[in-house]
């Protein structure tokens, strides 16, 4: 995962343009079958309009001595995303008005965008900006706006039912690792794992799209379908570092996504950062908006906006580690496995069944006789058609996976059946 992250890290992605498509291609090259939806510039999407496409050929700044002191080839963060073309000789004073720095992290290049207000600008380290020589500078941004489209990568993996699990990440961020190469990589590898999952119960919908405009466009295209089918969803963002685990609930809480995530976090992680929906900041803003109202949460490592390297060149592949990425993949995998196992059962006979005659008393050799028997009987006592395994798990304080084993045993013995 980390090596794939390194591969796509340098590219100068934005909400549209060739580098986004290159990223989607790279994901497909992992063996993931993807439908790429192109939503043309000018398309109305609810309250929004798809902007023109933007591409950047080159961008640099040369100082009064003619030295090229800034070049987008060294970092895709050097140019304000969606900058207008410019090719001029300007004074240091004018340059400063278009130069963004991050005084709190004097060695880092900040990340800036201006999608909907036409302007141009450069970003450099504060230390470098402080040392700029007096005189006139040659600046060039060879960018292009043209009618094109935004690109949305959509992976749909059909399951036994048409109920869907949604995973959504965003492809519009250039060379930053936790936000958001990590989300792209984790979602891609989840897609690969899910593709190989035999007998998937749920249908999985994985989205690689530009933040905000992409999720809005996608909702506008598929609103009815999403509202009807999505039973749980996650915005996969900031999942690469190792510092903490963060949870952001859905708008009203209590959805299947909230329950499954909290079941995992409370049992397996214990200490994690719990945010309010009021602190949201990514595509759950769209998915959870009143008119859309999908059961979507966000499970992160260090949440956007909370870590010092956020939106600077310091958010790099030393912050995001193989173990950080792998751990996030594992968290999602575990939660999805619990969802795949999560069903509602109803006992087929009244009173307790006679386990002994069926050999269902736990094996005397395990040393866990009583505990396993208790779990089995407790499980059965809530097979009432109104507790799904997650609900039984909460009542009985055991993992879903363990209840699922009980369920298999009892289902095979004909003692429970799936509740319609």
């Amino acid at each position: 995962m980390h090596s794939f992250a390194s591969h796509i890290f340098p590219w100068c992605r934005s909400v549209s343009g060739p580098e986004v498509r290159r990223t989607l291609d790279a994901i497909q090259n992992l063996g993931i079958e993807m439908q790429v939806l192109e939503v043309p510039s000018g398309t109305r999407c609810f309250d929004w309009e798809i902007p023109d496409e933007w591409s950047l050929r080159e961008a640099y700044v040369e100082d009064p001595k003619g030295d090229r002191i800034l070049d987008v080839r060294h970092s895709s963060l050097h140019v304000v995303s969606y900058s207008e073309p410019v090719d001029r000789r300007i004074s240091l004073e004018e340059l400063r008005q278009h130069m963004h720095t991050c005084p709190e992290r004097p060695d880092a290049i900040p990340y800036r965008t201006s999608y909907y207000r036409k302007t141009w600008g450069f970003c450099m380290s504060h230390r470098q900006a402080e040392a700029l020589l007096p005189g006139d500078y040659t600046i060039k941004i060879d960018s292009q706006f043209y009618p094109g489209s935004i690109s949305i990568g959509e992976v749909v993996l059909p399951g036994q039912v048409t109920d869907e699990i949604l995973l959504s990440t965003y492809t519009c961020h250039p060379s930053m690792a936790n936000n958001e190469v990590s989300g792209v990589v984790t979602t891609a590898f989840l897609a690969r794992w899910l593709r190989s999952l035999p007998n998937r119960y749920y249908t999985y919908r994985l989205l690689f799209l530009p933040e905000t405009i992409g999720s809005i466009a996608y909702c506008s295209l598929k609103l009815d379908h999403l509202k009807q089918h999505v039973k749980a969803g996650w915005v996969v963002t900031c999942v690469g570092d190792e510092r903490t685990v963060s949870f952001l609930p859905s708008r009203l809480g209590g959805t299947l996504a909230d329950r499954a995530t909290l079941h995992f976090l409370q049992r397996e992680i214990g200490r994690f950062d719990s945010y309010s929906f009021l602190e949201r900041g990514s595509d759950e803003r769209q998915y959870c908006s009143p008119g859309v109202d999908l059961p979507v949460v966000s499970l992160m490592r260090s949440k956007y906006g909370t870590y010092p390297e956020y939106h600077t060149s310091d958010d790099d592949l030393t912050l995001v580690t193989p173990s950080g990425l792998g751990g996030s993949f594992e968290m999602y995998r575990r939660i999805i496995e619990a969802l795949e196992q999560n069903r509602t059962y109803v006992a087929t006979c009244s009173c307790e069944p006679q386990l002994g005659k069926r050999g269902l008393y736990p094996d005397l050799g395990t040393g866990h006789i009583d505990d396993e028997l208790i779990v089995r009987m407790n499980f059965l006592s809530y097979c009432d058609g109104s507790h799904d395994l997650l609900a039984v798990a909460e009542r009985c304080n055991v993992p879903v996976s363990r209840l699922y084993k009980c369920a298999e045993i009892f289902r095979d013995a004909g003692l429970i059946r799936l509740h319609k």
Copy 2:
């Protein structure tokens, strides 16, 4: 307000009689249009019957030396309210059986009534009673009972809707300031303010009536109307001192009146005394009775029965201050303003709207950019048709007034509409 309080303070009000009408006249003289309902003696009101009217011409006690040691002209508390007429020469022993004092506050005259059991009595300070000379006393209570009516002052201020806010206070207490000149004054000034309120949303119903029998009579006359229209109500009592703020909830809690009051108290007052409905003691006893069951609470300063001057002549206009009255007026005003602003909205478009193109990104100059933007987006995220502004305010921890400003902006921009 305090000067009006001083004006009406001395009058010898009771559940009926000329001094009550004089009080209602004084309120009307503030410029408040009032309907005075006269409910005749003998009228059945649910389980009760309107008593005969009572008026008092004079009442005094003369000691064995012929000195007039008690005269109702000095304090309207000197006579037990609804005393029978008496004009006799009696022994000190017999006098003592009809003389009420307050040993815990030896200098204060206690307040006593006997509306439904015929008797007569005087009240004086314990210190004075201790020093009474032996011998025979001349006593006189020149009172009259006669078929008449109780008088209910009703101010109705129509609004845009027929849904009503009820404010009820009582006019039956003679010369005591916190309980209840303060309630009369505050309600009168609220009436004056509400009358001048442009575009009132709610219809306001303000009642000036004798405690218990008055609210029972009024409910019996208007039960269906009240049950159908009253959405929130307050018993305005004991609102004149500066010691504390007290809240008494409705019978089951959670009504609009409870929510609006608690929203204000928790945000703006912070520390206040919270009582149980079991500790009620004024007209919420009637308004919240099972057969009436209006959404009525009580917001007070020092609650009746809890302060040492309660029901004595020490409950005077030094205890009740201009700032106490003004502060109570202000609390009610703020709560009513929140109610006037409290509506339920629903977003007109799915996903977040594009604020930038409408110039709705907060002004960059205010220094509160992010905070204001966050409040706006949080507000929008709960414009789902099931959260009124009070509910959004609780979720987002901001005052209703601030959300109302958001609502105006978004409504003007067509981004939200009122939920039916």
Copy 3:
């Protein structure tokens, strides 16, 4: 009660057989009319089958010297219940494989059963087992299996309504006092008290049956009736010692049985052990199973499995005391009395009634004027057709019995009526 406990203590009860019937006869001899249901061996009861009947004529062990070192006549615990017949001379080694002891309590004989797996065995104190002489032993268990039946004692005491209160205890345990002679004795004496209760409101159903198979058989026979009629039920078990009081709730909690028991415990006992339904272990396993789902809880003294003498010969009549039994009887009596009084009322008039004209102001001589008046008015304020007396009691923090007195007074005065 303790003397009756001593009377039935020694008998070698099991899930079936003559000693169970002898116990049921003894209960009937207390003057309790009982229907004894005999459910024949081989009858299918849901997932179970009634086993053959078992009786034991004699059982002993003789040591190599010919001394009879174990005889079931000294303790009914000496033989594993439902042991197969055996009559052999065996080595000490083989004997040890069939000899159960309790190393943690070396002087106590453990209690063992093997109802559904055919085997045989003896139980003796660990100390005695340690001292067994080497050599061959003569062992004999003269038991019989034969088609018969299990016996269920059913006492039904009709009340004014067909709604039922269920009390269930078990008769299958031999000579152990807390678990379960105490349950049998307490339930028998409750039956005697209930029989004498004039104007019972509820119908009472008291069951004396073998644990597990008995309650399963009974449910299979009467499922529809029980589901329709039982409004609250208790498994009466482990109610004889004085150490503590234990409560085990119903499967989902909140039933009438939970509410009535907790009302009593919280008000009258204060400190008690509260268990989770997950810690259940007696016939609530059947009554609360999803397909049966009766509102059944368990109110115990020291809960089965939690006290050191549990399932050994040390659970004897020194552990179970007259005061332990009497106190449990009293707890159940008090709870049942509250249930008998528990009704839902609705006020017949709007607003508060005028108590004074009816002489319903509390007697001025009691010194509790205000408190009694407050309770009465608070009671009335929740006579709204949706609070039963238990619910009012919780709100007002008074016992049901006190509210019942209010209810009688107000009902007689025509101020409240029963809610349908």
